[in-house]
Amino acid sequence: MSTKPPPEHAAPPPELTPSRVRFWMVCALILALALPLQLSVDAGLFPDVLNPYYLHLLTIIGMNIILVASLNLLNGYLGEFALGHAGFMAVGAYTAALLATKALPSAAALPPVLGTCIILVVTLGGAMLMAAGIGYLIGLVTFKTVGDYLAIITLGFNMIIVNAIQNLDFVGGPRGFTGIPKNTNFLAVAVCALLTLGLLRNLIQSSFGRVWVSIRENAIAAELMGVSIAKAKNWAFTIAAAFAGLAGGLWAQNQQFITPRSFDYIKTTEILVMLYLGGMASLSGSILGVVAYTLLMELLRNLLSAFAPQLAEWRMLISPLILIIIMLTRQTGLLGNREWRWLRPRQGA
């Protein structure tokens, strides 16, 4: 029996496949661009080309990529319709804000770069843990529901989280949380976004991810094959919530002020719009959707303010119109179910 086939579940040897090389090359390239970009903006070099406004937009794009990619896990790969993502973001944002202001010393009391790194790791770790915990609990409650019912329940949880924070006086209640130190910069967001994409890319191709896709394609068949649907869904909720918490933690320490209303269903809708614009079940789509949406809004702002200031209020009308046109001509979004090569773990996968 020399031709015995290898067992199905055997892990492939950790060889340097072309896609893996590509992935690391893209990561290295982005970091190699991000570091000098951050340093030169901080130092005020080339103020006309590299100004903090562009860096601010890139930072927002990075944070939104984390949000949209993690929501893609639930809405794209697991095939559910979750409407509570901004709620997890709020949990992460408030946890990080509390840790940074009440529990940790300020960055000034620590060594310059290392201190900020330690603070970021602790606050973001706390944010992810807290959001994951809440995500796990919500997953437990909702495991029996699917489709529209799950959408309503997650929407309900989003409202509960926002209203609960509004009534917590020690985090500022409806007045918002002021005085958060600015620990997040573009570089930190770029690293977190790459980590998120790398983790999700591998996770989706792992047995976990395949189970999610099998549930999406046919839940009954998946269950017959021995998949524990409740467990797999709960994992997806926990992981997606953790990354939303990460984005929230970055957000709080970038904006230095958070208010519960920023995390209501309108924020969730914004994340959904970027997700559907980019395309479901595609990490590349999540990136492209965020970049396209953010640039579209800012581009309209700049063009209108430079050439037609009297039309500035039409921005909120023109941009959704462009979205509608894109969705009518490309129902699957810009990159639905397709992946750029560096985000594909294996050739042909």
Binding site: V49, P52, P174, R175, Q256, N302, F307, E313, L334
Partner: protein, 376 residues
């Protein structure tokens, strides 16, 4: 192919900033879309008026020459995250010298750290939350802060209406309502009154009968409703239906013509505190109101008046500083004494909060009538 076209978009952003002639640029961050876009429109109108006024006279005097002024207005959508982006754009791309805005406190709180770090002076026309200016050197406001309004109404209720008992019904989910309600409760008690009811609801509730029935049980002489104009008429209608006879009081959230359109007769005989009144006896205000009416066909609301004052505060500071430098403008602003604005005289006593008066307005036959002025 499509993807490659998308990649060219950032270049267009750069192309969008066309070179401009030598002029003085001042940014404006206002919610011209979103839930309070009416406020944004008032701001836009007032800014257009200021810009035309100053440029008709040749511009602002900077040192020995006159420079034309251009206001760059951006929409912050009444969202903190958009305000942060707008402040970044105005400061770093448009290179403005100073900023008028933003309007709601949550937006100003998101924009303020950016302006503070860049050393750009900001005058917020409308943000009444104390946190906005606290601990900041470059952030000013043209309006009074929430606690002051709670005190004005408490003072009015105890001294003018001679009320002994009062109750409050407020939106617990909004910082504005909550702030004023708490100060009113404390000040009213301090001035010898008694709070017999302190009830709450949540934004967008439409049935207040449970809370109002409870308040009716203690039969207060005044009922303080520090809520927005779109909810107050409903609350008063329901209160009158339940037989509550108390005089209704409110804050500047009442200041909108919609208040009497929605409420009708039921609004008559009630009072609210405000930043200014169109009937106020003040030459600056009279000129402003006449011009605004002629140009836009509307009586200016407080947001328009405060925007007009904010922009003029900055222009005066530029002239006083004598140079187009943000730091010098900030110092000149902080040293402002007795600036004559539409909304009264403004003096900055060290911090970013002005020392200024308030007015109490009575609703009579569907009109807002100036009742009295209250000074701190």
């Amino acid at each position: 192919m499509k993807l490659r076209t998308l990649a060219l978009l950032p270049l267009l952003v750069l192309a969008g900033c066309k070179p401009t002639a030598k002029e003085l640029k001042i940014g404006v961050s206002a919610p011209t879309t979103g839930s309070i876009s009416a406020t944004g429109q008032s701001a836009k109108n007032a800014i257009a008026l200021v810009q035309d006024e100053i440029n008709a006279g040749g511009g602002v005097q900077v040192g020995d020459k006159q420079v034309k002024v251009r206001f760059i207005l951006e929409d912050d959508e009444d969202k903190p995250e958009s305000t942060a982006t707008v402040f970044q754009k105005l400061i770093n791309q448009d290179k403005v010298l100073a900023i008028v805005g933003s309007y709601t406190s949550k937006c100003s709180n998101a924009g303020a750290p950016i302006a503070e770090a860049s050393g750009i002076p900001v005058v917020s026309p409308w943000s009444t939350n104390p946190n906005v200016t606290k601990g900041r050197k470059f952030i000013f406001r043209a309006c009074f802060i929430d606690p002051f309004q709670g005190r004005v109404v408490a003072q009015f209720a105890t001294s003018k209406l001679k009320a002994k008992t009062g109750a409050v019904l407020y939106d617990v989910a909004s910082d504005y309502n909550k702030g004023i309600a708490e100060v009113f409760r404390d000040e009213f008690t301090k001035m010898g009154g008694k709070i017999v009811g302190f009830e709450t609801y949540n934004t967008k509730d439409t049935d207040f009968s449970a809370q109002l029935t409870k308040i009716k049980g203690s039969n207060p002489e005044v009922l303080f409703l520090p809520n927005y104009f779109n909810e107050v008429p409903l609350q008063i209608q329901q209160a009158r239906k339940l037989g509550l006879t108390a005089v209704m009081l409110g804050g500047d959230g009442w200041d909108n013509p919609e208040l009497v359109k929605l409420g009708g007769k039921v609004m008559d005989g009630n009072y609210f505190s405000n930043h200014y009144s169109p009937d106020i006896d003040n030459p600056v205000a009279k000129g402003f109101i006449a011009k605004y009416k002629a140009r836009f066909g509307l009586v200016p609301d407080a947001a328009a008046a405060l925007t007009y004052d904010s922009a003029n505060l900055i222009l005066k500071a530029v002239a006083t500083a004598g140079k187009a430098d943000s730091k010098a403008i900030r110092d000149a602003l902080a040293a402002t004494v007795g600036f004559q604005g539409v909304t009264g005289n403004i003096t900055y006593g060290g911090g970013g909060d002005p020392v200024k008066g308030a007015v109490v307005i009575k609703v009579e036959d569907g009109k807002f009538v100036f009742d009295s002025a209250v000074n701190p």
